[in-house]
């Protein structure tokens, strides 16, 4: 879907992006991660031509983005930023309708789409006529995501979209983004400096340092084989084992059996949560039970550690 070929961009004699090759497949969830100044935002902004490369090519579905009219290109790509940037003089509904209006959709179609998106992002329909100033941070970013999805783009670019939210709201929105991405099969490119967020959401993690790709791998590969010290630092040297546990569901480690004394855990929890629960309750066995009360088996402490 996206192919970057030897992309380079210089700001004031310094390479922000120094020759990056990158492929993001259709339907992938790609996280660009790195410290401040690693070039991750610049790289993202090259995909919708907010920044143009000094050299190299950015191909979207085989077309060089610099050969397309920028407005037309951007209307086909969802764009979400950390500061949200809702239009303060427009109602929530009008904000969400921004791109469909630009594209000249029929009014009835726009109206139906706004209703649909507000439901998808779990926004109270009563907020449709509200002013952005009346929204909480989490609600505002939900509207920001709805606005980006309005014209049903295949590709969604997100620049630290949840960076300004409190941890609880952030987790909720991450979960919803993951659900929406799985339901719609959209390709997402996501900038973050939070490794937990990258590991949790992404199918492809691209680590950047000084404008270069240091590692491009699946979350599991990244944890198993960090390419260098920077990647190890980003993973957190001491709890990368726990992060690996977090990638595995309880169901995957469940074995048959029953133990009336073992406390309950859900099969879709991750193994890190299971370990934490064992430590908290002082047990080494948990009963795996689905939300509808079905008994699925037992989770043993020994099974948490992959052999």
């Amino acid at each position: 879907m996206i192919r970057l070929e030897q992309v380079r961009r210089t700001y004031g004699g310094r390479d922000a992006v120094a020759g990056v090759d990158l492929v993001v497949e259709r339907g992938a969830f790609c996280a660009l991660i790195g410290k401040s100044g690693s070039g991750k935002s610049t790289l993202l902004r090259m995909i919708n031509r907010l920044v143009e490369p000094d050299s190299g090519r950015v191909l979207l579905n085989g077309d060089d983005v610099c050969s397309l009219p920028p407005e037309q290109l951007r209307r086909q790509i969802g764009y979400v930023i950390q500061s949200v940037g809702l239009f303060p003089h427009w109602s929530v509904a009008r904000n969400i309708a921004a791109v469909p209006v630009l594209l000249g959709w029929q009014r009835a179609r726009i109206q139906a789409r706004v209703v649909e998106l507000m439901a998808l992002l779990d926004l109270d329909p009563a907020l449709a006529e509200a002013a952005p100033a009346a929204l909480s941070g989490g609600q505002a970013q939900r509207v920001g995501v709805a606005r980006a999805l309005a014209a049903d783009p295949d590709l969604l670019l997100m620049d630290e979209p949840f960076g300004a939210l409190d941890p609880v709201t952030r987790t909720t929105l991450q979960t919803e983004l993951l659900r929406i991405q799985r339901e719609t099969g959209k390709t997402v490119v996501f900038v973050t400096h939070d490794m937990d967020e990258a590991l949790r959401l992404a199918s492809q993690v691209v680590v950047l340092e000084q404008g270069r790709v240091v590692q491009d791998a699946t979350p599991a590969d990244l944890l198993a084989h960090p390419a260098n010290d920077l990647v190890r630092d980003l993973l957190g040297r001491w709890d990368s084992g726990l992060r690996r546990l977090a990638l595995r569901t309880v169901l995957a480690a469940t074995r048959p059996g029953a133990d009336a004394a073992a406390p309950l855990i859900r099969p879709d929890s991750d193994c890190r949560a299971a370990l934490s629960r064992m430590a908290e309750l002082g047990v080494s066995v948990l009963t795996v039970q689905s939300e509808d009360g079905r008994h699925l088996g037992l989770l043993h402490l020994a099974d948490l550690i992959p052999g």
């Binding site: 907010l50 951007r74 764009y79 949200v84 509904a93 009008r94 921004a98 630009l102 726009i110 109206q111």
Partner: protein, 248 residues
Amino acid sequence: MRRALRPAVWLALLLAATFGMTSLRPLFASWFPKLERPVYVEDSFAALLLAHLELVAVAGVLSGVIGMAIGIAVTRPWGMQYRGLAETVSAAGQTFPPVAVLAIAVPSMGFGPEPAVVSLLLYGLLPVVQNTIAGLTQVSSAVLDAAVGLGFGPFRRLWLVELPLAAPLILTGLRVSVIITIGTAAIASTVGVTTLGSPILLGLTVDNTAYVLQGAVLIGLLALAVDSSFEAITTVFQTMPLTEFNPR
């Protein structure tokens, strides 16, 4: 409701003063017993008011349009480099006394409304230019980034996002500009244009304080009426319903 009432009250006072000034003759006669002619009679006050308004309207519209155009131009990427120049020139336009501009303009343009319009236009430019620049530059960069990223072209960005968000400040600039133009327009009478300044000027020349007072009162009331109208409009702007895409 009270906000909307205030301009109506000032307007009523202005009209009452305009059409009733002549009937106040006994009052002025008692205030200024030494004057032979205590009320200005060379023109009707209604004619003076209309002429004054016409001059203010022409100069005000011109400085509004030109000032906004300059303000918009120097906040575009291609005009950014001229921003300092525009601010300096419009500031100089206001520092330069309008009387001096008249003195310079009359030899080349002759007596009449043209040099008056030019000097008033220059004088009224600064607040419009400054407030247009201030209004446009205070639009949040996040909002602009979102607009560009979603695919708004330069014109839509300006028309749908920047101007509406800058409108309250631009309106304040226009208001200041028009108010100072109303006051300053009186000096146009020195170059032979009939305005509410005519009784003031004649009064000063022939030492008739009543004339001066009559002109000044009307100019003051006109300024108050226009200013309160602007205030009412600004209030409407601030409480304007958010743009809906589906008004029922």
